[in-house]
């Protein structure tokens, strides 16, 4: 105990946030969270007023992913809290450490269907790693510390703390407790390194399958060292992009539904999969029974529940990737396999000599990737533009490519870019969006304007919900149901309403100058890139199909 002056619950919140190094929070005030916003008035924590709670949640996610810190968002009770849910679900699916604080009606009114009352505690069960409702002011300090610890412990994830208004107002003396550590509940078995070593040394055609867990384990150096020293060909999930140096000669790019042909064929032909921080997601495996059918599996993961969940592991290695992977880092004699990989890679390299004058989105994104400054951070929304960005842009760190992987949330890109830019003010931040996705959180242009956030927006505009349209054409007999967006607003006028400089291009000859103008502009910028609505994302592995049966055109 110490002789600190009493604080309100709201004041205590900001003291604890600062104890955890929180400098920035994203939120939106309302009735049941007013005592917290009153305490904010005296706090050194900087608050960014978003224009929708979903925007606040995604900005917190973008902030966390770009900076490797915990993202924090605030919302009031009822609709404010429910508007956070999509962002929390996104953070859960992609294992992002976020702490969400929600106001709640006073404890005396809880359970009475009070104005703006919703059981957010109950709603949080399916979309958070853990959640708390604090009904006793004396519990608040401990719970807030636990929230940060849980968000970052093991596999990262979102934690919600619901605080009734009377608890926010109650006086309390901060105990300045030492942060308690969670008990290591799950006793991890000793990793079967001997079995894994045996599999590795006998493999003739191994593949390293890299996922988003690598960046979160801060094990990029270890994975790159493993790839270099073993010479093992590697493939990446959407969230793993950037973990392997894209210049590594044995790196084949993304695998899965829109993966490269070389990556998918190599995985199907391999005799050993070394899986690091990945989870055999259905968008990666295609038809699970036919995924890498002849491969043994060494599976590194921090989450016990991911081992044997969708594919049995011959050698599971639980625990910290950073410590475990070096135990298997050794030279391998796989020259013949490497030669085959090189041949596959050359035969399936991307081509950008698209005929005609219309702009080819993959070429634009590839050119942006080449022209953007080193350590730029790119966020995306969800759809065709997302897959083109994943295929045709190069990233040298997972924290430089932020995309909604597990949840596939349209509306992610713009607020995530805002969060990323706030966490990394000296880096260029670009959001690649589509004309469908951008409208999902378009109100966040006002947040950009309010704080002069210099995010660059590349809007790939085909006046369609392009990915759904593509599937309707391919798998629903061309019955184009509700995917036409030709009545979209004029995006240039829209941008100008938020003081964002904007330009529209529709011909190949305009691309290079427009990209340079955008990147050179000292402030926010929207580049609308008009593309042919009939363009598809290739290759494509049709649903419930083996990855080697990909479509490459219609």
């Amino acid at each position: 105990m110490n002789d600190s002056k009493p604080l309100t619950g709201g004041g205590l919140l900001f003291e604890v946030l600062q104890q955890h190094g929180v400098e920035h929070v994203f939120g939106y005030p309302g009735g049941a969270i007013m005592p917290i916003y009153d305490a904010l008035y005296d706090s050194d924590v900087q608050h960014f007023l978003c224009r929708h709670e979903q925007g606040a949640a995604f900005s917190a996610v973008g902030y966390a992913r770009a900076a490797g810190k915990v993202g924090v968002c605030l919302a009031t009770s009822g609709p404010g809290a429910t508007n956070l849910i999509t962002g929390l679900a996104d953070a859960l699916a992609d294992s992002i450490p976020v702490v969400a604080i929600t106001g709640q009606v006073p404890t005396s009114a809880m359970g009475s269907d009070a104005f703006q009352e919703i059981d957010i505690f109950g709603l949080s069960l399916a979309c958070t790693k853990h959640s708390f409702q604090v009904t006793d002011i004396n519990e608040l300090e401990k719970v807030l510390h636990q929230a940060f610890e849980i968000a970052l412990e093991g596999r990262h994830g979102p934690v919600l703390v619901d605080i009734p208004k009377d608890v926010q107002l109650a006086e309390v003396t901060q105990r300045l407790e030492k942060l308690s550590h969670l008990k290591n509940k799950v006793q991890l078995p000793l990793a079967d390194i001997t079995k894994a070593t045996d599999l590795l040394t006998h493999a003739k055609q191994p593949i390293l399958y890299v996922g988003g867990g690598v960046g979160m384990a801060n094990a990029i150096d270890e994975v790159r060292s493993f790839a270099e020293k073993t010479g093992m060909p590697s493939v990446s999930t959407l969230k793993g992009l950037g973990a392997i140096n894209p210049d590594n000669e044995n790196y084949l790019g993304m695998l899965g539904m829109h993966g490269t042909k070389a990556a998918n064929i190599a995985v199907q032909d391999c005799d050993l999969l070394v899986v690091v921080g990945a989870r055999f997601d259905d968008r990666v495996t295609g038809k699970l029974d036919e995924f890498a059918p002849n491969a043994k599996v060494i599976h590194f993961d921090i989450d016990t529940a991911e081992i044997n969940k969708r594919r049995s592991a011959d050698a599971p290695i639980l625990g910290d990737l950073k410590g475990n992977l070096p135990l298997l880092t050794m030279p391998l004699n796989i020259d013949e396999w490497q030669d085959r990989i090189q041949k596959m890679k050359q035969e399936s390299s991307w081509r950008y000599d698209h005929p005609g004058e219309n702009i080819y989105a993959p070429a634009v994104l590839n050119e942006i990737s080449q022209l953007m400054p080193k350590n730029s951070c790119v966020t995306t929304d969800v759809g065709q533009h997302q897959m083109w960005a994943a295929q045709h842009m190069d990233f040298d760190d997972p924290s430089n490519f932020l995309t909604s992987g597990g949840m596939g949330t349209m509306g992610f890109g713009l607020p995530a870019a805002i969060g990323a830019q706030i966490s990394r003010p000296h880096d260029t931040v670009i959001t690649v969006s589509g004309d469908g996705s951008i409208m999902m959180n378009i109100q966040e242009l006002a947040t950009m304007k309010r704080y002069n956030i210099p995010v660059k927006i590349v809007l790939i505009d085909n006046a369609k919900l392009g990915m759904v349209r593509q599937w309707q054409d391919l798998f629903f007999n061309g019955r184009l149901s509700e995917t036409d967006l030709s009545d979209n607003p004029d995006f240039i006028t829209l941008a100008s309403a938020f003081d964002i400089k904007a330009k529209s291009i529709s011909k190949k000859s305009e691309v290079t100058d427009a990209i340079n103008e955008m990147l050179d502009h000292d402030g926010s910028y929207l580049l609308r890139v008009k593309i042919d609505a009939a363009e598809n994302v290739w290759p494509l592995v049709p649903p419930n199909t083996a990855n080697d049966k990909m479509m490459e055109s219609v």
């Binding site: 505690f121 069960l125 989450d303 016990t304 529940a305 044997n308």
Partner: protein, 92 residues
């Protein structure tokens, strides 16, 4: 109509007696594809540890559910009571 095999299991779950711990277990059990055939929950007020016994059935392996329940923050441990394992036929 294809008959599918539902395996029946008995779980013994030890948990801290915290808010909504039962709801969390029920939510995970349903979401992961297990039917709950019965359950009993008691709290030892001396140490605030709850013991929950739960009968579940599913086509899925029980390890899937055990691992997911174990991930819940307030869970101290999960055991499968093998002596209670049964199999029954269901017509799908």
């Amino acid at each position: 109509m294809n008959p599918t095999t539902l395996n029946k299991y008995q779980l013994i779950i030890m948990a801290d007696d915290k808010q909504v711990v039962l709801e969390r277990i029920l939510q995970v059990t349903r979401y992961r594809g297990f039917l709950i055939n019965g359950m009993n929950a008691e709290v030892n007020t001396g140490n605030n540890v709850a013991t929950i016994t739960m009968s579940v059935s599913s086509e899925r392996p029980i390890s899937l559910l055990v691992d997911q329940i174990n991930k819940l923050i307030d869970i101290k441990g999960v055991k499968v009571d093998n002596s209670a394992v049964q199999t029954k036929q269901k017509t799908a």
